[in-house]
């Protein structure tokens, strides 16, 4: 099991690194999208899979990271990655700190509801006020660069930037997972009361996880903004929060690989279901197909795609 945890991701990373050599432009764009969403999904995995905190408002931090990237960029010059990236992550982390401090004292279903509500609050700020560009969003005139080495306007540069971010996030979370902090989070997930009885100040741990997850979502937001060169309020919508939650469940909760797998599966599924060439007339009502698919999926495969081999093996025996 240990080998699968390191070899498969390593192999995948190497394969991806060779991507621009054999993928078409369209495919590269799709893969970049999947990689960015994977970072987003991994950030939620930290919250849900590792700490057991089910948040339905995670898109807020994603959207804040994206908006800050665009808002802080100069109008007619490329912004610097060295400034924009930390700024985006810090802004997302700051909101996460505030929301976490207010919501982490609530339990169970309350927590789910209040995270949704606070995300909606952020959504309204960008949708209704002059801060964002209203419901149309705002455009980024020139994508960020990093000195002379990195220009995110270049498709290849964007690809590798996303890949590096994904590998770094994955590696970081893998380290967290096996660290003392990560073990404490796991204990909190299984039985928070027991952890408190042992002497852990669980609120602090949960807040740290929440803020960290927010920061990583901000990273994904930065990449999304740089890639699309545009942001709109829907990035903070509950649709987006629901989608990322779905991704990690689709892939398999409790595994870092699951988050990436789920992001890929969801993106490809959505792409396929809305493609006339593949499903014909049903493409116009892809939400219905998606909805039914999710229901059937969650009912039959509660462990997600990661649990598929085991499930098939059991069915065969």
């Amino acid at each position: 099991m240990k080998a699968r945890e390191t070899i498969v991701p390593l192999f995948a990373a190497l394969l991806l690194a060779a991507g621009p050599l054999f993928l078409t432009n369209y495919q590269q764009d799709l893969v970049v999208k999947v990689m960015v969403l994977s970072v987003f999904a991994l950030s939620l995995e930290l919250l849900v899979g590792m700490t057991g905190l089910v948040s339905l408002g995670h898109a807020a931090f994603f959207g804040i990271g994206a908006y800050v990237t665009v808002l802080a960029s100069p109008e007619y010059d490329p912004g610097s990655v060295a400034v924009l990236l930390p700024l985006a992550m810090a802004a997302a982390a700051a909101y996460a700190l505030v929301v976490g401090a207010l919501t982490l004292r609530t339990r169970g279903v309350y927590f789910i509801m209040v995270t949704l509500a606070f995300a909606q609050m952020a959504y309204f700020v960008f949708h209704d006020t002059k801060v964002g560009g209203g419901s149309d969003g705002i455009f980024l005139n020139i994508r960020p660069t990093l000195g002379n080495w990195l220009d995110l306007a270049s498709r290849v540069h964007m690809f590798y930037a996303a890949l590096v971010a994904l590998v770094a996030t994955y590696g970081f979370l893998a380290l967290v997972r096996r660290s003392r902090f990560g073990h404490a989070l796991a204990g909190i997930r299984v039985n928070e009361q027991r952890m408190r009885a042992a002497g852990f100040r669980t609120f602090g741990y949960k807040l740290a996880a929440f803020t960290l997850a927010g920061a990583l979502a901000g990273l994904a937001g930065f990449l999304m903004a740089a890639n699309d060169a545009a942001v709109n309020p829907e990035l903070l919508s509950w649709h987006e929060s629901g989608a990322v939650l779905l991704m990690i469940i689709l892939g398999g909760l409790g595994h870092l690989r699951g988050a990436v797998l789920g992001a890929a599966a969801f993106t490809l599924l959505k792409d396929a279901l809305s493609n006339h060439g593949i499903v014909g007339a049903a493409a116009d009502h892809w939400q219905l197909t998606l909805g039914v698919t999710i229901i059937v999926f969650v009912a039959l495969l509660p462990q997600g795609l990661i649990g598929l081999p085991a499930r098939l093996a059991r069915a065969r025996s």
Binding site: V48, V54, L56, L102, T103, R105, T106, G108, V109, Y110, I112, M113, V114, L116, A117, F118, Q120, M121, F124, V125, H127, D128, T129, K130, W238, G242, L245, L246, I249, L253, H285, Q287, L288, L290, G291, V292, I294, I295, V298, A299, P302
Partner: protein
């Protein structure tokens, strides 16, 4: 602000709050008793509104009858839905419930899209409820809004009676504060759940039907009202109908007067209210569950 305007805003706040109460009470009961978080609750509101749009031509001049028919239809729908879908969710974790009901929203949206399309519609106010009453010298207030508030009050009183004076209500109250105990007492829990769920759906659909002539009937109306519903339930406390009432009115006032004084930023007013309440009382103002 002069007194007449203030009165108008107060009436608006109460009317909005009462409508929210219909929705929130259904949601809080369903969660309090069955332990299911139902993201699709907003969809029932949307279904109610579209139902009003579809049924209106057949019930011209018989608005109250249409409401009654709508309530019965949605109760039946809720009963069947509980049996076919929701009863499987009770044993599942919150996470799976969230996902399944979120997927249900997608299904409802698309079915509605296939059935009646995605256009924005209006429902006309019935003739006997149209017009306005004078308030003071310069202002008037729409009769229909007064009707909406009155209807909600009647329903609220009916709910109070059912919950506090009937056997069914006794089981509901018991279930809201201790679900396992009710099961342990051997009460036919499945039937109770089905009835409660049907009631919740009917309340939400009724709210949608009543709201239809006031606001327009549009695709996204389920989603936006759902989140506000959640805010109400969090503020009021899960499982508490009284809490839902207090919280709904509170939200109604904050939202209405927020729009008057803070225009642009009014959308975030109710969330700030929620934040304040959370700091002070994480369990909600009047939670049915005690420590």
């Amino acid at each position: 602000m002069d007194f007449a305007t203030f009165l108008v805003q107060c009436l608006n706040a109460v009317q909005y709050g009462l409508l929210l109460f219909l929705l929130a009470s259904g949601l809080t009961l369903i969660f309090g008793i069955m332990g299911v978080i139902n993201l699709a609750h907003g969809s029932f509101y949307m279904i109610g509104a579209y139902m009003a749009f579809v049924l209106a031509p057949y019930f011209a001049g018989q608005f109250l009858l249409m409401l009654l028919v709508g309530v019965v239809l949605s109760a039946i729908f809720g009963y069947v839905l509980e049996w076919a879908f929701f009863s499987y969710l009770y044993q599942r974790e919150h996470l799976q419930q969230v996902l399944m009901t979120w997927a249900l929203i997608l299904v409802f949206e698309e079915v509605r899209s296939l059935a009646v399309g995605n256009d924005v519609h209006g429902v006309s106010v019935p003739a006997w409820l149209s017009g306005s009453v004078p308030l003071g010298e310069l202002m008037t207030y729409p009769v229909y809004r007064l009707f909406a508030s009155a209807a909600c009050i009647v329903i609220a009183l009916a709910m109070y009676w059912v919950v506090n004076r009937t056997r069914l209500g006794m089981m509901i109250r018991a279930g809201a504060s201790n679900r396992d105990m009710v099961r342990g007492l051997g009460i036919d829990i499945r039937h109770l759940y089905r009835v409660v769920f049907a009631g919740g759906v009917a309340l939400a659909a009724l709210a949608g039907m009543i709201a239809a002539p006031m606001s327009s009937v549009y695709p996204g109306m389920g989603g936006s009202v759902l989140i506000i519903c959640f805010v109400v339930v969090v503020i009021g406390g899960i499982g508490s109908i009284t809490g839902a009432l207090v919280a709904s009115l509170l939200v109604g006032f904050v939202d209405t007067f927020g729009k008057v004084f803070f225009a642009e930023y009014s959308g975030i007013g109710i969330y700030l209210l929620m934040a304040v309440i959370l700091v002070w009382r994480p369990e909600g103002l009047l939670s049915a569950r005690r420590a």
